[in-house]
């Protein structure tokens, strides 16, 4: 009896057999079981549904064994904390998504939701198991439903480790973060052959849906990984910043970096001339714990930077302008990037730190016609509705709609600081003077001098941090070198912040 038990288990654990496993390795990939083994702390994985089998009889499938239904599901510990996985096995009938494969996958998500632990999907599948007809379509519906109902309750991370085409592409993209392996991860609503027959477009798989397509162009891939090991390492790193569910706070860790540390370099790091770009990453690295920053969507909408870091050991989400790219002005893609990140942080009790050096939202026909107003509105909704601690620092510029859209005091910041070089105003002096004094400048004996004089007056009066501070729109003008200290003290006072608002189903955010 025990022998039979051992043998049954052993056969299933061999997945698609030695030949298929060798092919998987030749592609530079690990098998589903190797991934699970590497991901969890040694000896902590508990598998569920090892013996599950399909019940299809059509097209000879009744004679076909599909070990574990091509997906390994279960739970284990990652750095001591429970996580649920579904790891698709490409060696077993190409990891195709059949009825019971889908059932295992969606039940794993349901269980993660009900138990309040993060879910990680290791996706590597040839797509729908077409021999099962309607049953395979319906199991996509189960999975979509499970994921969406778990959204906002547990963190969900999708890893693109192999092909994810057709139905397989919808479910990763609906999770909170998508990681893509550079050489093997591919995600598309339809593959090249289907694209060719339906639209005539000739395109190869990598160009259509490789890392360049999604990490740079579509903004659907949040993190690019070099290979399976790098992908799993980065997933563990991200998990370290997140709580297990929406009822918990993220874990505070000792980082050894003094929360009151002063950084004198910061006082001269940013050029005073607002038209000179610099890399905001340099500012971020100096204010966070040990310079350790986990950037999200690094290659997409680079005019803003978002990611996770720690302050005094507390995980926080950072949203920062990037003056080095597109003037740090906000376009439609940047607005989408910020809004979804802010909402994720708010769902999982992660405080937000916002660093402004932003001249405004991008103007002109290109962005206007893409809908910059409705995309920009997403940021306002996200920040105003977020109830987590929010701290804003105006590093240099904060003008116009972007001042409100990147979280000023009245769009959500609990505490707001500005550096002495900050310019906080409705518009820049050139624009303001050319509107207010248009007639006077036109009628002047020397219009050029008059214009310059009026610009200088407006700049003197309004382009500074003190008009905003006079009204209490910012709480203090601080030395750049003391930024970290002020952020940490703000996070201390905001630790137990509570917000009570009247019931509504949800807001009508501009999706």
């Amino acid at each position: 009896m025990l022998e039979e038990y051992k043998q049954k288990r052993e056969i299933i654990k061999q997945m698609g057999g030695p030949k298929a496993v060798a092919q998987q390795h030749e592609r530079g990939s690990w098998t589903a079981r190797e991934r699970v083994e590497y991901f969890f702390d040694p000896g902590t994985f508990t598998e569920m549904g090892l013996f599950v089998e399909h019940r299809t009889t059509a097209f000879g499938l009744d004679k076909r064994e599909i070990p574990a239904e091509g997906v390994i599901t279960g739970f284990g510990k990652v750095n001591g904390r429970l996580v649920m996985v579904a790891s698709e096995d490409y060696t077993t009938m190409a990891g195709t998504f059949g009825e019971y494969h889908g059932k295992k996958f969606s039940q794993a998500v349901d269980m993660a939701k009900d138990m309040g632990i993060p879910f990680v999907g290791m996706n590597d599948s040839g797509g729908a198991r077409l021999q099962e007809g309607m049953d395979t379509l319906q199991c996509y519906a189960w999975l979509f439903r499970s994921q969406i109902l778990a959204s906002g309750i547990i963190p969900q991370i999708a890893l693109l480790m192999g092909p994810c085409l057709g139905g397989q592409a919808y479910h990763p993209v609906m999770q909170d973060f998508v990681f893509q392996c550079r050489e093997t991860g591919r995600m598309a609503i339809a593959g090249p052959a289907f694209v060719k027959t339906q639209t005539g477009e000739d395109i190869d798989l990598d160009t259509l849906c490789g890392v360049e397509a999604h990490a740079v162009k579509s903004g659907e891939t949040h993190v690019v990984a070099e290979d399976d090991q790098d992908c799993l390492d980065k997933t563990k790193e991200l998990l370290s910043f997140l709580p297990a569910n929406n009822r918990e706070k993220p874990l505070r860790q000792e980082t050894g970096d003094d929360s009151e540390r002063i950084d004198p370099e910061l006082d001269t790091l940013v050029p005073e001339d607002p038209s000179i770009p610099y890399d905001m990453h340099d500012v971020i690295a100096r204010i966070i714990d040990n310079g350790h920053f986990f950037e999200i969507l690094k290659d997409f909408a680079q005019n803003v930077i978002v990611g996770f870091a720690r302050f005094g050991g507390r995980p926080a989400g950072i949203v920062a302008s990037q003056p080095m790219c597109a003037a740090g002005a906000l376009d439609c893609d940047a607005a989408d990037k910020v809004a979804r990140f802010v909402r994720f942080c708010d769902l999982f009790n992660i405080p937000l730190v916002n660093l402004h050096d932003v001249p405004g939202y991008w103007i002109g026909s290109a962005e206007e016609w893409k809908g910059i107003l409705r995309h920009g509105a997403k940021m306002l909704y996200a920040y105003v509705e977020a109830t987590v601690p929010k701290i804003t620092v105006v590093v240099r510029k904060s003008f116009a709609g972007a001042y409100t859209g990147m979280c000023c005091k009245d769009t959500g910041a609990d505490l707001m600081f500005a550096w002495p070089i900050a310019r906080i105003c409705i518009v820049g002096a050139e624009t303001a003077a050319s509107v207010i004094f248009a007639r006077e400048i036109k009628g002047a004996e020397d219009p050029k001098t008059m214009k310059a004089q009026r610009i200088a007056e407006y700049r003197e009066l309004f382009e500074n941090p003190y008009r905003a501070a006079e009204r209490g729109f910012i709480d203090d003008v601080i030395m750049p070198s003391e930024t970290r200290k002020h952020i940490n003290r703000a996070l201390d006072i905001l630790e137990n912040k509570t917000v009570v608002r009247p019931w509504r189903k949800y807001s009508n955010i501009n999706l």
Partner: protein, 75 residues
């Protein structure tokens, strides 16, 4: 050959090189301005400036070709 395209819409403020000039990887080719920011545009590789298609003061759209370089191919 490499086309140097405008990374954002705006106005050309200054051209830093001449036709026929050898440029290094990372060298400033021109400066464009938009949304209150001056953005240096750098050479992506070393090479020689073949053609300059814009002049200082000129308006540009994102993606406009501003210059063309003949690249040096080491080895």
């Amino acid at each position: 050959m490499a086309a140097i395209v405008a990374p954002m819409p705006g106005r050309v403020v200054d051209i830093k090189v001449k036709v026929g000039e050898a440029v290094e990887n990372g060298q400033e080719l021109c400066i464009i301005e938009a949304m209150k920011m001056q953005m240096p545009v750098m050479s992506p590789q070393s090479g020689v400036v073949r053609e300059i298609k814009v002049a200082a003061g000129q308006g540009i759209k994102k993606g406009d070709v501003m210059m063309e370089l003949d690249l040096h191919h080491p080895g």
